[in-house]
């Protein structure tokens, strides 16, 4: 099948794009990399009447770090640019580690950071990374711009806090602080497929290897990226023994995640995957935190 027809605009400035978004609201779909939107249109799962193509907006494609604590990534930055960015590999290793899991080279060359986040697929990697790193998002409309924290942003399957007149313009990711360990792991049926289950872990230790901060965020184990706060709290103030890791993995996989049965995985299997991934990710992140 082929897409239904639509009105096509390719604004040459963000300002122009915002005016069009204000005019058409929900009727206008943003076309970023098109790697989720175009397949949905090819199969007529989506039939937008107006398409706003942001691909001419070079002003939304950048990574920049004006201060030493955070990195800004423009919404139209391609996933492959993030994958190949040496500063990101060095200072936001968790983000770097997740990129190769997103689809295939063809799709990462075209798909964008903003699109991956705005699409809000519970099986997508960047929403999970954003939550694990405590990132923020800047959305803009003709009325101005506002920041949204990642824990307010994802509202369920393909639902976000972006209003119909707004466009997501940038992501702000804190650099990892010293003595932080990271791990991103997932299980999918084939390389590049959306995963059946995944986890992002960030833990920060003090000089005596006692855990000062911990975040555990799960991929595709709820209708949005899911932060297991109670399980993470069990780690704070402790050294990570095998028993503690076991307890945390059991708690998160039995009590905190909310998996839904799918064609590829029963709920029991998803809990099993979550438990094993949690143990592996905590061991990996703990080891890395001790080395940094």
């Amino acid at each position: 099948m082929k897409p239904a027809s639509f009105k096509y605009y390719a604004p040459e400035s963000l300002e122009e794009a915002l005016v069009l978004k204000a005019q058409y609201g929900d009727e206008a779909r943003i076309l970023a990399g098109g790697q989720s939107l175009i397949p949905a249109m090819n199969f007529r799962i989506m039939q937008p009447t107006v398409l706003l193509d942001l691909n001419l907006l070079a002003e939304l494609s950048y990574t920049s770090s004006k201060d030493s604590a955070v990195l800004h990534i423009g919404a139209m930055t391609r996933l492959s640019e993030v994958e190949d960015d040496p500063l990101i590999a060095d200072r936001v290793a968790l983000l770097h580690e997740s990129l190769p899991y997103i689809a295939h080279p063809q799709i990462r060359n075209r798909g964008t950071v903003g699109g991956n986040i705005a699409h809000a697929d519970p099986a997508a990697e960047l929403p999970v990374i954003a939550l694990a790193t405590d990132s923020r998002f800047r959305v803009q409309s003709t009325n101005g711009s506002r920041w949204i924290n990642s824990d307010d942003f994802f509202r369920g399957y393909f639902e976000t806090a972006i209003e119909p007149n707004e466009i997501l313009v940038e992501l702000e990711v804190p650099f990892h602080v010293t003595n932080t360990g990271w791990a991103f792991l997932e299980v999918s049926r084939r390389s590049g497929d959306y995963a059946m289950a995944g986890i992002a872990v960030l833990i920060t230790l003090d000089r005596d290897y006692i855990c000062r901060q911990a975040r555990l965020v799960y991929l595709n184990l709820s209708d949005a990226p899911l932060e297991a706060k109670q399980s993470a709290d069990m780690l704070v103030g402790e050294t990570l023994s095998d028993e503690l890791i076991e307890q945390v993995a059991n708690k998160a996989s039995e009590e905190e995640i909310m998996p839904m049965e799918s064609l590829h995985a029963t709920v029991n299997y998803q809990r099993h995957l979550a438990c094993i991934l949690t143990k592996r990710a905590l061991e990996l992140a703990y080891g890395r935190a001790k080395e940094t």
């Binding site: 193509d53 063809q106 799709i107 075209r110 084939r190």
Partner: protein, 164 residues
């Protein structure tokens, strides 16, 4: 109702202008409007890579771009690889290693392999398999394809040394 627009771009080194409706994919424009039927439609949703082409030297799936989006861009399809006299070394290698059977996936694999070798002249087997994960083949089997890519890498490196 026709809503056609003119797009001008460079395809396989030639300046072209064509008409497209905004909803037509780049793949449809290449195959149906421009007669470049080398790129294939396997899935139309980004899973198979049979429609792989290069846009400004970056590998993409032509089924997931609109034709209208290549305005001003440089496009290379499988038709653009060989010159009049000789196959491209990647094509040569697929022939020598029997890296194809029905051939439906082959244009996609060849374009994807060229993109890989332009970025990484000596990929390991793991790197080859990881890079080609977005290209599906339903008959040859991936071992022969991987062997073809290794030979292509060797042929291209030999050609470079020959020039020096």
């Amino acid at each position: 109702m026709s809503n056609k627009r003119v797009v001008s771009s460079t395809i396989n080194g030639q300046q072209v202008e064509f008409l497209t409706e905004p909803q037509q994919s780049l793949l449809e424009c290449l195959r149906d409007t421009l007669g470049l039927t080398g790129s294939k439609e396997g899935c139309n949703d980004g899973n198979c890579g049979a429609c792989s082409v290069l846009i400004n030297n970056r590998l993409v799936n032509a089924c997931l771009m609109l034709g209208i989006e290549i305005e001003g861009k440089d496009v290379v399809t499988v038709e653009g690889l060989a010159d009049v006299h000789e196959l491209h070394p990647v094509q040569e290698a697929f022939v020598l290693e029997d890296g194809l059977q029905c051939g439906y996936c082959t244009p996609g694999f060849i374009v994807a392999t060229k993109a890989l070798l332009d970025k990484n002249a000596n990929p390991t087997e793991d790197e080859i398999r990881f890079w080609l994960a977005g290209n599906l083949c339903r008959c040859t089997g991936y071992d022969k394809i991987v062997r073809s890519v290794r030979l292509a890498s060797q042929l291209m490196n030999d050609a470079k040394e020959g020039l020096q």
